[in-house]
Amino acid sequence: MTPNFQDTAWIAAFREGKAGTFEQVFKEYHRSMCYLAEKYLLDKEEAEDVVADAFTKLWHGRMQFSDAGHIKGFLITSIRNACLNLLKQKQRRSASNNELAYLLADKEDDFFRKLVETELLKKLYPFIEQLPKQCRAVFEQVYFEGSSIEETATKLGISTRNVRSQKSRAEQLLRDKILLISFIYCLMSMQNNTHIDSNLPSIPEEKKEK
């Protein structure tokens, strides 16, 4: 449920720090902001710190905001600046000869492309996030970790039959979201050892996976 950030009552509550509005903003943007920071810093911990700093500043300065676009813009700008500062510091410390690396990392076009990538993932992620819990766990094992059906079953402590049925369910659910057709199709063709089974919710027999 995305809150209506444009709503004037919402903005008023946000400025007063009320009614979980700050938490809503956090939920909405933290993931994409952290992804953006990771693109710059290539370090998970540092990226998390930078994002936490940006949200802290947002909290303390919440009175200045009058619309949602403004909030998002503020987060993006703070994160970009913080990342560049960090890179600059590192550059000094390492006294590396390619001293322009951080500047190269900040050409407007490059920044733009980072944002495009982040935005696209932000659009796709909810489809995975909204999968039922076990379904998602199976999906992540199979598609993200590249585990076989058997490995997934062992890791999650469920039967291979259950893995197969959850996998089909995940594929079905994702396919139903028209948006992901090409994505899931790509994934499935990638798993060439995978039996593509589009209609049945589960495959009854224990087919041996290679």
Binding site: G17, K18, G20, F22, E23, F26, K27, H30, R31, C34, Y35, E38, K44, E48, D49, V51, A52, D53, F55, T56, W59, H60, G69, K72, G73, I76, D109, D110, F112, R113, L115, V116, E117, E119, L120, L121, K122, K123, L124, Y125, I128, E129, Q134, E140, Y143, F144, K155, L156, G157, I158, I178, L179, I181, S182, F183, C186, L187, S189, M190
Partner: protein, 411 residues
């Protein structure tokens, strides 16, 4: 920003195969602007790279970022807990707790289950000394037929069937699911006997149980909870030794009752309809403390003294069943254990007992028990015991650790 959205939209439509001719033109123009644009486009439409990117996007740790943010913002009451920032063992959606009315009811079910043996973690192996480590998520489940099942934090899902009740152990929690109750039928009993299960945590253990009515119980170390596998009849009766935090699902006309048990027998009862509260009933700490976070509870001691508690109140009952004090407390401090912390805002003896139970070590005093009046705050429970002792030293409480004998001597 608008342009970012525009291009993202175009790429997404391309993936879906629904680009119009005009849009294709716009996309082509952008792609022709630079080779970097072209290569980004290829990355984002390539199955392998896109999957990798989605994987890192999914792997972002919301909880860590939220925790870091909260730490910087500081104790600001306006910001609430967004993620369960503690361990996974209490990761569970909150059940709405409701304020309740109170009904007087006799305590009918009072089959004492005292003298529950508390499982001990093995203290010594033959040659090597068992390392002293912080407690973890572990417990023993005793089924109605006496069978015992070891519970730990293993990330496995195992189901145990007891009649119509499915017991799942998931990520360090035990969940009782009553299918019949869900179907509106009577809970299952075998003949007229209600089946009981008991979950017991050892020293250095904690565990979370979700009862068939959806109530959640967090068991602290060296504690046990006995409960029927389904709540038949007009009351929900459970019994406790040690310490637990209860988050009771409100069910009208079906009060929830906790019988507080100690080796000496029943120490009293707490009756609720829907609420969140903590019961601290370790025998060695002397007395029983009941702390109410939300809702309302009624305490009946074995000497038939009664006390209704309001939120943020804590009642202390002595061994004779006398209510020796009802006071307003800092809830966060009283519930520190549930949040993975030791509470320093208590007397030194109780604090040291907490530490002993968590690291599974004995506590001894070389002389008098230090006053510790300057103590305040909390210490995380997942620190090595030595670090905890270092912190206490700064407060003037010096504990010497004897690893071999598994004890701390306070001087």
């Amino acid at each position: 920003m608008e342009k970012v959205e525009k291009i993202t939209g175009l790429i997404n439509k391309y993936r879906e195969g629904i680009l119009s001719q005009d849009e294709q033109g716009e996309l082509d123009t952008w792609l022709a602007e630079s080779t970097e644009n072209r290569s980004l486009f290829e990355e984002l439409t390539d199955k392998t790279t896109l999957t990798d990117k989605l994987k890192s996007y999914s792997a972002i740790n919301s909880e860590a970022i939220w925790l870091k943010t909260l730490q910087q913002i500081g104790p600001d009451t306006k910001v609430k807990r967004l993620y369960p920032v503690q361990r996974t063992w209490w990761k569970y959606p909150a059940v709405a707790a409701a304020v309740i009315g109170i009904s007087v009811a006799g305590w009918l079910y009072l089959k004492p289950t005292a003298n529950q043996p508390v499982a001990e973690t093995p203290v010594d192996t033959k040659n090597s000394i068992a390392e002293i480590v912080p407690g973890s998520t572990k417990a023993i489940l005793k089924l109605s037929d006496g069978k015992e099942i070891v519970l730990d934090n293993a990330n496995n899902q195992e189901k145990i069937q007891q009649g119509a009740i499915t017991i799942s152990k998931i990520n360090g929690r035990l969940i009782y699911n009553d299918e019949n109750a869900a179907n509106g039928q009577d809970p299952i009993t075998v003949g007229s006997t209600v089946l009981y299960n008991t979950v017991t945590t050892p020293m250095g253990g904690q565990y979370q149980v979700i009862l068939p009515d959806g109530s959640i119980v967090w068991l602290n170390a060296a504690s046990s909870l006995r409960f029927p596998i389904a709540f038949a009849g007009g009351e929900r009766n459970v019994s406790l030794t040690g310490e637990a935090f209860f988050q009771v699902s409100p069910i009208a006309n079906k009060p929830f009752k906790v019988a507080i048990e100690t080796p000496e027998g029943n120490e009293g009862n707490v009756e609720v309809l829907g609420t969140q509260f903590n019961i601290h009933a370790y025998t060695e700490d002397g007395g029983v403390k009941t702390t109410l976070q939300e809702g309302s509870v009624k305490l009946t001691t074995k000497a038939s003294n009664k006390q209704v508690l309001k939120p943020n109140q804590e009642a202390t009952v002595d061994k004779s069943g006398k209510i020796i004090g009802v006071k307003k407390v800092d809830i966060a401090a009283s519930l520190a254990w549930k949040n993975g912390e030791f509470n320093l805002e208590q007397d030194v003896k109780s604090l040291m007992q907490d530490i002993g139970r968590w690291y599974n070590v004995k506590i001894e005093y070389a002389g008098k028990v230090p006053s510790g009046s300057s103590l305040n705050g909390q210490i995380p429970r997942d620190l090595p015991v030595k670090e905890v002792l270092d912190i206490l030293k700064k407060y003037g409480i010096e504990g010497q650790l004897n690893e071999k004998a598994r004890k701390i001597v306070v001087i």
